[in-house]
Symmetry: none
Subunit: 405 residues, 2 copies
């Protein structure tokens, strides 16, 4: 298994430039038996060229037969074993809306719910209120003050919000307040460890929940909250520490900026589309060693179940490849954080096509004429766990010392 | 991961004969994009025949994306996980000049350096004195006696020498004396553990360093030493214990004899070239089960950056194959301890071609017509970590029991 502590001792600084282009949910399945996948159906002359000149393979973002969430999928690509580094639900919710967490933060995922006159839950999701209504509700509770603690409350989507308590000496060892079914009252928060920190944090959260109850008891349909997924930032060693790479994240969506921030990449703000991303890539070319470029819509169209639309998104990405090559990168990696076959309309466990293009340091990719799932089976990289990808990337960028004499 | 403790319970004695031919630095890269590697460019009719009749694949000596040193590379081929068994710098230096270490030995790498009248280091490498000068300097200090301890001092190369203290009850828990920059005096050795063994060893080393100072203070440019890389033999279980194989090392260069000695192979002395190696192979055929035959020059020519010369070395090795087959071996393995592409002039992370020829116990190697990196991608062995190789070898030699009933 790729080991960050080993990697850290081998990586070296350098002048080579690396671009990692992640097409979210890239991998797919045939629409009809024996037919092409989305990637195989797409006309991708530029990716095909990189596949011929570089090396291809298939990667397992988490492990064989495991369907990754976006968090684990990206951690794997970034070289952090998603089976070792867990991102709690509360942290993922906060990171997913672009909040940057500090080591002092304890985060929870909140749900607005509906309770009756006795405080018994009648709808755990408050009729799935709209995101706008969620934002209005958050406006009613976001200024609740707690002694010695900064509280941050932000709407996420529908009935979901993020809660962060920020102060030294807090604990995430708390029970969830959602009783997981209607007909029960929200649970009181209690310390799950016998420590002063956990007891203090439980007291603070109960104070906060009590204040929320008073503030929103006359609202409808959302008139109460539940809290779950108590967690802290996973404390990942940074990309700079592990790989000696100064890294920039060129992402449009908050979730992917958040994931990049967990490994210490610089977040480039104000990017609304792929043209903005490419302009930023060119502008920042001399300032960074590593560029993470994230493209969301391949996953979105897969989740929609729209095979043809996913094909079209892949073709859009193919057309930006020449603009990346114009910058003369030393290593280009193109892959996805997981598969999202449009026939399944969801993330899947299928290994993800990957291509690694690095002039002068790659071997032949026999019989490979293009970039697609079936051809990747014959690629020189074989099938491997995604945690090895950054080892391969830094090796091909000539940024690794040998192991042992 | 291959597990020696498991292997040890499965292996059995037998009468089959195994030859492992290691072409150092065998793996390569194309000189021009799309062209052949060194191995693919070489005319290797005999290896091609073995590849067709046996099975081929690609092995990762340490792990995916890691460039191995010679020590870890060979440990992997011998079945010992180089990520679990570390060879300290002092031990490697001793082993590299053919010294055989006992369990009583503590080894350090020594550097001759230059100090000024106050004992402050002005050149950490004494102007990189020649190996001959190093040998003369060693002659001045090799007979320094310590109470109850045998000391062994041998020149290595340039300003480097090996120091071994041999006595029961010594410790390697000592600090390095090299301050890592000029303008400072060599550090005094102190125990890094609070044990009588460590304190005693530190005292002994300081006595030795004091005696060295007196002996060479008027020499020039080397007039002092620093010591680093304190280590003991890694205490590997022997080849005989793990694999039930009586093994002979037929190597010309001291480093590879030293590595073979760490796993308990018998070192066959006095071999100056491949003809000597083959003569010894024939002569000792009835005395051993396993023969490690090491060929250095494939790596040397790769390190030189000389593609054509590496091709020529590979062709030389190909021509000895019939003489090996004449002995009727049951298993022949041909591989390398790492790749040394001549275009990179260094060890690299690229997986190494391997062929395993074992009449009657191998499956078809589909579409494979010869031995080369690209064809090995389609080989029946696939890509695998080198630690599995000895499992495959003993299995194909019919020297393994089944696991479980």
């Amino acid at each position: 298994m790729a080991d960050l502590n080993l990697t850290r001792t081998l990586t070296q600084t350098g002048t080579t430039k690396i671009v990692m282009l992640v097409m979210d949910g890239l991998g797919g399945l045939p629409r009809t038996p024996g037919g092409p996948t989305e990637l195989e159906a797409a006309a991708t002359p530029n990716l095909d060229r990189l596949a011929r000149e570089g090396m291809t393979g298939l990667l397992h973002p988490v492990d064989i037969g495991i369907s990754p969430g976006s968090g684990p999928g990206h951690l794997g690509l970034f070289g952090y074993d998603p089976l070792s580094f867990l991102i709690g639900r509360g942290v993922l919710e906060a990171v997913g809306i672009g909040l940057q967490l500090t080591d002092d933060d304890v985060a929870a995922r909140g749900n607005f719910c509906t309770v009756d006159g006795d405080g018994v839950i009648t709808d755990r999701r408050a009729g799935r209120i709209s995101t706008d209504e969620c934002a209005r509700m958050v406006g009613l509770i976001e200024d609740i003050a707690l002694p010695g603690v900064e509280t941050i409350v932000k709407p996420v989507r529908d009935y979901r919000f993020a809660l962060i308590l920020r102060a030294p000496g807090l604990s995430e060892a708390l029970n969830e307040t959602d009783p997981q079914r209607t007909g029960l009252k929200p649970l009181v928060v209690e310390a799950q460890k016998d420590t002063a920190e956990a007891r203090r944090t439980a007291d603070l959260v109960n104070q906060w929940v009590d204040a929320v109850r008073v503030r929103i008891k006359d609202e409808h349909p959302a008139n109460m909250v539940t809290l779950r997924g108590w967690s802290r930032t996973p404390g990942l060693p940074t990309f700079l520490e592990v790989f000696k790479l100064k890294a920039a994240a060129l992402a449009v969506y908050p979730m992917y900026k958040g994931l990049a921030s967990l490994v210490g990449m610089d977040l480039i703000q104000g990017l609304a589309n792929v043209d903005d991303q490419l302009a930023a890539l060119a502008k920042l070319w001399n300032d960074y060693d590593f560029f993470f470029v994230h493209y969301k819509y391949t996953d979105s169209r897969g989740e929609d179940g729209d095979f043809d639309a996913k094909v079209a998104e892949i073709e859009k990405v193919d057309r930006i490849i020449p603009r990346i090559l114009d910058l003369k990168p030393n290593v280009v990696v193109v892959t996805g954080d997981h598969s999202t076959p449009s026939v399944l309309r969801s993330h899947s466990w299928h290994p993800v096509p990957v291509l690694l293009w690095a002039p002068g340091t790659t071997r032949a990719n026999p019989d490979v004429t293009g970039f697609g799932e079936t051809q990747c089976l014959s690629g020189a990289l074989g099938q491997f766990r995604a945690t090895y990808l950054m080892n391969l990337v830094t090796a091909h960028a000539l940024r690794q010392a040998k192991y042992g004499a």
